[in-house]
């Protein structure tokens, strides 16, 4: 999986980004004049109370939502809509139920015109990466929630994105599976050296996975905060610095 470094490093620059929705005739500013610099290869977590616009920001970065104004640049180039340099992992696995695991993982490659043989080869590699090699021929409804989400992750990795966008990817999983998957994501991120932008409502998950945490405020007047997580990988959830960071972050949300 090399060659990623030569194309670009997966830097994201957001300038003056604004997005609003109209809800019941009322204008709702979800994002207002947001500035953000994501370094290439970094893991950035976006947290904030519900309604703070974290998912909207991710959807804008994915190209699934158009911003009202402002600019998004990826490796210096202006971003227009969806692109081959990014892929999205959604909260639900969103697998096509009529395709096997292998065909689901190859789906992203096939729609981009990669030949079947090459798509299969890359899909198999990514299925191994998420530890599902034995389940290539299984259908989605034969998989558990955690396994299905792994397939979704493999599908996103198969297209070799520079930037991986994750929209609460583990939010629907049970607590045990979630912990395993967090370790899995940390490992994949280290091995694949992609930029990872992760929206989550789980502060511990943010500290466990991210280099920096962006805290979006509920009140649009407040300034978003960026918090450096300067802990070595792999991280120990019960180490004093980890616990201290979590306490600080939770206090910021008024939790104790």
């Amino acid at each position: 999986m090399d060659g990623i470094g030569t194309i670009g490093r997966g830097e994201v620059t957001v300038r003056d980004l604004s997005k609003s929705f109209t809800l019941n005739g009322r204008r709702l500013d979800v994002l207002r004049n947001l500035h953000l610099d994501v370094r290439g290869g970094e893991a950035l977590a976006i947290v904030g109370p519900s309604g703070c616009g974290k998912t909207t920001l991710l959807r804008v970065l994915a190209g699934l939502e158009r911003p009202d104004s402002g600019q998004v640049r990826i490796d210096g180039q202006s971003m227009e809509g969806v692109g081959t340099d990014r892929s999205v992992i959604f909260q639900e696995a969103r697998l096509l139920p009529w395709l096997t695991v292998l065909r689901n993982v190859a789906f992203g490659l096939e729609v981009r015109g990669v030949t079947r043989a090459e798509a299969d080869r890359r899909a198999r590699h990514c299925i191994r990466l998420v530890g599902l090699a034995e389940f290539e021929a299984a259908y989605p409804r034969q998989l558990s929630g955690g396994m299905a989400q792994r397939v979704g992750i493999a599908r996103a990795l198969a297209v070799r994105p520079r930037i991986l966008l994750l929209d609460e990817p583990l939010g629907a999983l049970d607590a045990m599976t979630k912990l395993t998957m967090q370790e899995e994501l940390a490992r994949i991120w280290r091995e694949e050296k992609v930029t990872m932008i992760l929206v989550t409502h789980d502060l511990e998950e943010a500290i466990y996975l991210a280099d920096r945490v962006l805290v979006l405020p509920k009140d649009r007047g407040d300034v978003p905060q960026l918090i450096e997580i300067d802990l070595p990988h792999p991280r120990d959830r019960s180490a004093p610095p980890f616990v201290a960071l979590r306490r600080r972050l939770m206090a910021g949300f008024g939790l104790h």
Binding site: L64, V88, V111, Y139
Partner: protein, 280 residues
């Protein structure tokens, strides 16, 4: 090719004796299943036969089954009923094929474009609620008493179930799957071919099976009016001539035709939508 439970450990295999017991148990389960499923039908047929022979029921109206089967066999072997089957199949087949050929592409198109669907839905609902049989006189006025009006009335009745099922199927495709495909940069055509079409197939099949039943129903009605061939005509004709076994022979063949059509569609559905839970 289907693993049902992936996490369950493989069943422990025992010795030869337990294997034999296994075969025996499976055979017994098979018999029990056949009894549960077809027992009532077999009982009904037996009661008919015995009842007609012993005079519990009027044998001139309900002749014993052996005479009905004999009449069916004579009709088929002599070739008299084969002609009727052929013309009936031709009428319903032609109408059904035309309905499928028009309704599926139109439904796929309408389901995708909201404005078109919204504009056409009221008129579709209106047509659907108008009984095809009630319109049959109109079709006869327009197309004459020949083949055209017969085929057209069947076509009309089979068109709407397929059309509405197809539209419904397309409309109910999970938007999240479409968004997923979009996020990989799939163009519209690819999304249609690889997401929308397979996702709406189960619903399309519901329409196809409903319409197959309707096609045979309308066939009989159409053939009872102004026809001189066909299974529906034979039912009427045999009744006029008081050839009751022959009448039942035609009815039996119609039922078999319906069962065959449904079985063929179920088979096709199983092949194409193996991934979906079949409704049974």
């Amino acid at each position: 090719m289907t693993y049902q439970i992936l996490d369950a450990p493989a069943l422990q295999s025992g010795g030869a004796s337990s294997q034999r017991a296994d075969v025996l148990r499976r055979r017994r389960a098979g018999v029990a299943f056949a009894l549960r499923r077809y027992g009532l039908l077999a009982g009904f047929l037996a009661l008919w036969q015995i009842g007609a022979m012993l005079g519990w029921i009027n044998p001139t109206v309900f002749p014993p089954l052996d005479r009905i089967i004999a009449a069916t066999w004579t009709g088929l072997a002599g070739g008299a009923l084969l002609d009727d089957i052929a013309i009936s199949l031709q009428r319903s087949g032609l109408a059904y094929a035309a309905a499928v050929g028009l309704a599926i592409p139109l439904g796929l198109f309408m389901g995708q474009i909201r404005a078109v669907e919204q504009a056409l839905d009221p008129i579709l609902q209106f047509f659907r609620q108008t009984s095809a049989l009630a319109l049959y006189p109109v079709f006869i006025l327009l197309l004459g008493l020949g083949e055209a009006s017969k085929v057209f009335v069947i076509f009309w009745a089979t068109l709407f179930p397929i059309l509405l099922a197809t539209i419904g199927g397309v409309k109910e495709v999970d938007r999240k799957l479409i968004e997923m495909a979009t996020s990989f940069g799939a163009p519209r055509g690819t999304i249609f071919r690889r997401v929308v079409l397979p996702a709406s197939l189960p619903s399309i099949f519901v329409g196809l099976r409903l319409s197959a039943t309707t096609a045979l129903l309308l066939l009989i009605a159409a053939e009872m009016i102004g026809a001189n061939k066909g299974l529906g005509f034979q039912v009427m004709n045999a009744q006029y001539n008081f050839q009751i076994p022959q009448m039942f022979a035609a009815i039996l063949l119609l039922a078999l035709l319906g069962l065959t059509a449904n079985a063929a569609l179920v088979w096709l559905q199983r092949r194409l939508c193996r991934w979906a839970d079949l409704a049974r």
